[in-house]
């Protein structure tokens, strides 16, 4: 089947999509957008988190056909058009929140959504919002630091 949807603001078409393919597979293998990661493909780890019409979802659990005509934002869509990192991306780099980095794209998408919804989150808010994203390297401390840093920088910028 053919699936047509918007990815990171650009209209995309995928042909010959097998009906069992996930949105994650289509993004990674058909559209050349491997930023969303394939860590568990069971909806447990959050590494493949994208925003579907603004809502964070595990793209491994979304059938490709479900996104027909809808809008998807992946980690590749967070940076500015000129390649400038978004506040939350820069904060992850600066705070040391990236180690192996496999969980990072999913965490960034989830954190981006959190900060949009709740610009000054408490630690409990951050933990709750990111509880669907597993990280095996960092112990999460630096991830908390990164989200706090992004929130502080956003507040300063306003």
């Amino acid at each position: 089947m053919r699936v047509t949807f918007t990815v990171n603001g650009r209209r995309q078409e995928a042909d010959d999509v097998w009906e069992g393919e996930s949105l994650l597979y289509v993004l990674r293998e058909r559209m050349g957008l491997p930023g969303s990661k394939n860590a568990c493909e069971q909806g447990e780890c959050g590494s493949c988190t994208v925003r579907l019409d603004g809502v964070p979802v595990c793209s491994c659990l979304v059938a490709a056909g479900q996104v027909e005509g809808r809008e998807v934002v992946t980690v590749e869509g967070l940076a500015g058009d000129n390649g400038e990192l978004s506040t939350v991306q820069q904060a992850f780099v600066d705070a040391g929140a990236v180690q192996c980095g496999f969980c990072t794209p999913g965490l960034l998408v989830a954190a981006d959504e959190l900060l949009e919804r709740c610009p000054q989150p408490s630690d409990a808010d951050i933990r709750e919002a990111l509880s669907g994203n597993l990280c095996r390297c960092t112990g999460y401390e630096k991830i908390l630091d990164a989200v706090r840093l992004a929130a502080a920088r956003t507040e300063q910028a306003v």
Binding site: W18, G20, E21, R28, E29, G32, L33, P34, G35, S36, K37, N38, A39, C40, E41, Q42, E44, C45, S47, T74, V75, E76, L78, A79, L85, Q89, Q90, F92, V93, D94, G96, V98, Q99, C100, G101, F102, C103, T104, P105, L108, A124, I126, R127, E128, L130, S131, G132, N133, L134, C135, R136, C137, T138, G139, Y140, E141, K142, I143, L144
Partner: protein, 799 residues
């Protein structure tokens, strides 16, 4: 293949520091791969892509132990889109087995399967789902055999042998062929010392099977080459070790198997053994097309070895005034069906079994079994973790028996520089065990009843969290301490070396350094540290880290906390040689113009040659001109010795590292739910080359120890030896809600033998975090708790 192109492969990492004085050793400089990783552009091994690639898939055994009567691949082969189906009979040469230390692992099952999930057949197809469906059509006729699952069934009279025809270098000294390796350590006279003890405390402990659970699945891309060889892009911990195992099985010389490291999504020991490497190459060579294999999470649980589960028996004695008299212990590790690194794990468990304490009289035995359970091998902490869990529980028990404060009792017996290990090795660098305990105890405590708010309880901070299982009633708090010792680097006489190539040249008028090593960057930050070392040693801002591959000499494994020490050491040494060369060129070209070229101590700083008095003699770019300095050197740590097979004596280890933890937990005693409130750590790192990365390693290692304390375990059915929970639904790793604040106090006592005085960081924090959490739960509940992980039924008495 000629004419085709790989569109997604690893790239070089170039990073300028924005000024020569920044980004050197000792600074928290950011990762050179950080921007690629936050934008999604970093090419992990599962992201590789080739325009006409096929997908490989592995059919795995559904039973743990069986004779294979037949394998029928005809239906799979007839499936549209399938390009190849391979079994043992299709292997190209007579070398059909591989292994890290003992070549006992078949590439594909031969005649028998020895564990649940063992690879039986391979399929290559044009879509991953086609490959999976075709594999499901392969008919394997198994004749099931009785399973060996523990020491009793492995060593019972007449027990079947897991490997019938063992002929490895350990088979001559083990007491039973189902024992991979056994290491006793006898020092002093434990029996006589026991007679002097005022108190003797015994305990038995069980350590569950932990999984590395790295997030990036086993994956890679094998591309057949025109010369009959193969190019393999893969996530691994040690390219050259893989190569040594892969090439013979393919029937190729090592020069025809070219390996390049692809982005690695974590490792923790789980990528020391081969997974898809040989399988991908076999399919690529058979089909003549590039083949990509990516394990799903279910397969990943079968595709790598796990941490050895262990049973441990300990006896500690002490005098009334709190001095340890002796330690006796027996550690039985379950190595599963294949040896992997079990022999080395045994050596570690034995030699570190007493912990960071000074005890003269010991009687120790550690061994690893062959069973039909999943194969076990390397995981962060490597044999020291299991022992630490047990000896730290014992230390608390002895202290309680003596009526002493458990931290004070530990400090009384803490080893220090000059202490003799059970192996007879003298600890000849700082061993600040008492100081680490003092520091971790001195850290401010988290406030009591943090979950209380003016509106009531914030259930998110309570055991059970948003499940609303409690609002604070029945919640009790406990505090526990633990400390551990881990060896750094490969031990027991292993020729452990690293190679680095450094090139310095002028590009666009600026001196630019390029570093080429085969070091696996698995997330630990080695690439960051290499760039820092180059900046410090060569005084340049621009450093490019080339992709790691087998075109340069071995860097050894990214494990045993050794890479900053070893490959970092190699980069440092090579830089020093490059610097000498630069100065030589400078003397040749400019020596006549300034006497300091001949008389002063010269350094490279800020892109210039400067005297130790700070006078600039020339720019590096001027000195080099069109000339490039390009050197490749090896680095070795001081030699070690094998442990004596009877007494365990020998200078087996290179360096030791130490960490201490304090855990604060709250337990809902009604439902048996645990909330770890805080897990503080104090660690000596010798010298923090990158403080931010050091903290990240300590916090990450601490969290893996927390996981095994309260949730992580691969559950193997004791009757069938089948894995019950191979998924992230059922194998639980800590989420951000399960993980507390982890304050870190870093101590830097230089080791005079190590580059920059550094001490390997990665593993030590994984040791003591588990027993600290257990101690805290015991303190909260008063329960004995002698196994990991602690489950609700253990806390509520419903086990």
């Amino acid at each position: 293949m000629a004419g085709t192109r790989i569109t997604r492969t690893p790239t070089s990492l170039t990073q300028g520091s924005g000024g020569a004085t920044r980004g050197g050793v000792g600074e928290s400089t950011p990762r050179p791969d950080g921007v690629l990783k936050v934008t999604g552009e970093f090419a992990y091994s599962s992201d590789l892509w080739h325009e006409d690639m096929l997908w490989g898939y592995t059919l795995r055994s559904t039973v743990a132990h069986a004779r294979i009567r037949s394998i029928d691949t005809s239906q799979a082969l007839a499936t549209s889109g399938v390009h190849a189906v391979l079994t043992y009979d299709d292997l190209p040469t007579e070398v059909t087995h591989y292994g890290l230390e003992i070549r006992d692992t078949p590439v594909l099952a031969h005649g028998k399967v020895r564990h649940h999930g063992e690879p039986v057949a391979l399929v290559a197809a044009d879509h991953p789902e086609t490959a999976r469906r075709a594999a499901a059509k392969i008919v394997v006729d198994y004749e099931e055999l009785p399973v060996i699952t523990d020491e009793a069934s492995a060593t019972a009279p007449g027990a079947p042998l897991v490997h019938e025809d063992r002929d490895d270098h350990h088979s001559g000294h083990v007491p039973h062929p189902n024992i991979v390796h056994r290491q006793p350590i006898v020092r002093g006279d434990a029996a006589a010392a026991a007679a002097r003890a005022d108190v003797v405390v015994r305990g038995s402990y069980v350590f569950g099977m932990q999984d590395q659970a790295f997030l990036g699945p086993e994956s890679g891309l094998a591309v057949p080459a025109e010369d009959g060889g193969v190019d393999l892009y893969v996530a691994t911990q040690w390219l050259h070790s893989d190569l040594r195992q892969i090439a013979p099985v393919l029937g190729l010389p090592e020069s025809k198997v070219r390996m390049t490291l692809s982005g690695v999504g974590g490792a923790f020991g789980g990528r020391e053994d081969l997974s898809m490497q040989i399988h991908g190459c076999l399919l690529a060579l058979r089909t003549g097309k590039p083949v990509k294999i990516v394990y799903n999470r279910f397969e990943s649980f079968f595709g790598h070895v796990h941490r050895h589960p262990a049973k441990l028996w300990y006896e500690h004695g002490a005098t009334r005034d709190g001095r340890l008299t002796h330690v006796r212990c027996r550690i039985v590790l379950d190595g599963g069906a294949y040896a992997s690194s079990s022999p080395a794990v045994v050596g570690n468990a034995a030699s570190l079994s007493v912990g960071p304490y000074a005890v003269d009289d010991v009687d120790i035995e550690a061994l690893a079994l062959y069973t039909n359970n999943p194969p076990c091998g390397a995981m962060r902490g490597f044999g020291a973790v299991q022992a630490c869990f047990a000896y730290e529980a014992q230390m608390d028990k002895v202290a309680a028996e003596l009526g002493m404060d458990p931290v004070e009792f530990r400090r009384l017996n803490a080893m220090e520089q000059g202490t003799v290990m059970p192996t007879g090795q003298v600890v000849d660098s700082p061993a600040p065990v008492a100081e680490l305990l003092r520091r971790v105890k001195a850290m401010p405590m988290p406030p009591e009843r943090q979950w209380e708010t003016t509106e009531g309880a914030d259930v998110r901070a309570l055991p059970g969290g948003l499940s609303n299982t409690t609002h604070g009633e029945g919640v009790v708090r406990g505090v526990g301490y633990a400390v551990g010792i881990k060896n750094v680097g490969f031990s027991e006489g292993f020729d452990d070396y690293s190679t680095a190539r450094v090139r310095l040249e002028v590009v666009g008028g600026e001196p630019v350094a390029t570093v080429h090593t085969a070091m696996a960057e698995v997330g630990q930050g080695g690439v960051t540290v290499h760039a820092q070392i180059v900046r410090s040693e060569l005084g340049v801002t621009q450093v490019t880290i080339q992709p790691a591959d087998t075109q340069v000499g071995s860097a050894g494994s990214t494990s045993a906390s050794r890479q900053t020490y070893m490959t970092g050491g190699a980069v440092k040494n090579t830089c020093e040689a490059v610097r000498e060369k630069v100065l030589e060129i400078g003397r040749r070209r400019f020596g006549a113009y300034h006497p300091a070229w001949a008389t002063a101590e010269l350094l490279l700083e800020d892109g210039k040659v400067v005297t130790d008095g700070g006078e600039a003699l020339a720019g590096i770019a001027e000195v080099l001109g069109d000339e490039a300095v390009d050197l490749e050197l090896e680095f070795r740590h001081r030699p070690t010795q094998a442990f004596d097979l009877r007494t365990g004596q020998g200078n087996g280890h290179v360096q030791y590292s130490f960490a201490a933890h304090r855990a604060v937990v709250e337990v809902d005693t009604e439902l048996g739910l645990v909330k770890v409130v805080e897990l503080a750590c104090a660690q000596d790192v010798g010298k923090a080359l990158n403080p931010l990365s050091v903290a990240g390693q300590i916090q990450g290692g601490t969290t893996q120890g927390l996981g095994v304390a309260v949730m992580e375990e691969i559950v193997v059915d004791p009757v069938t030896a089948k894995v019950r929970n191979p998924s992230f639904t059922d194998y639980l790793i800590p989420t951000i809600l399960d993980t507390p604040t982890i304050p870190v106090d870093v101590l830097e006592l230089a080791d005079a033998n190590a580059p920059y005085g550094l001490r390997g960081v990665g593993e030590a924090p994984t040791l003591s975090s588990t027993p600290a959490v257990l101690a805290a739960i015991r303190a909260a509940t008063g329960l004995e708790l002698n196994r990991t992980p602690v489950r609700p039924e253990h806390l509520t008495g419903t086990d």
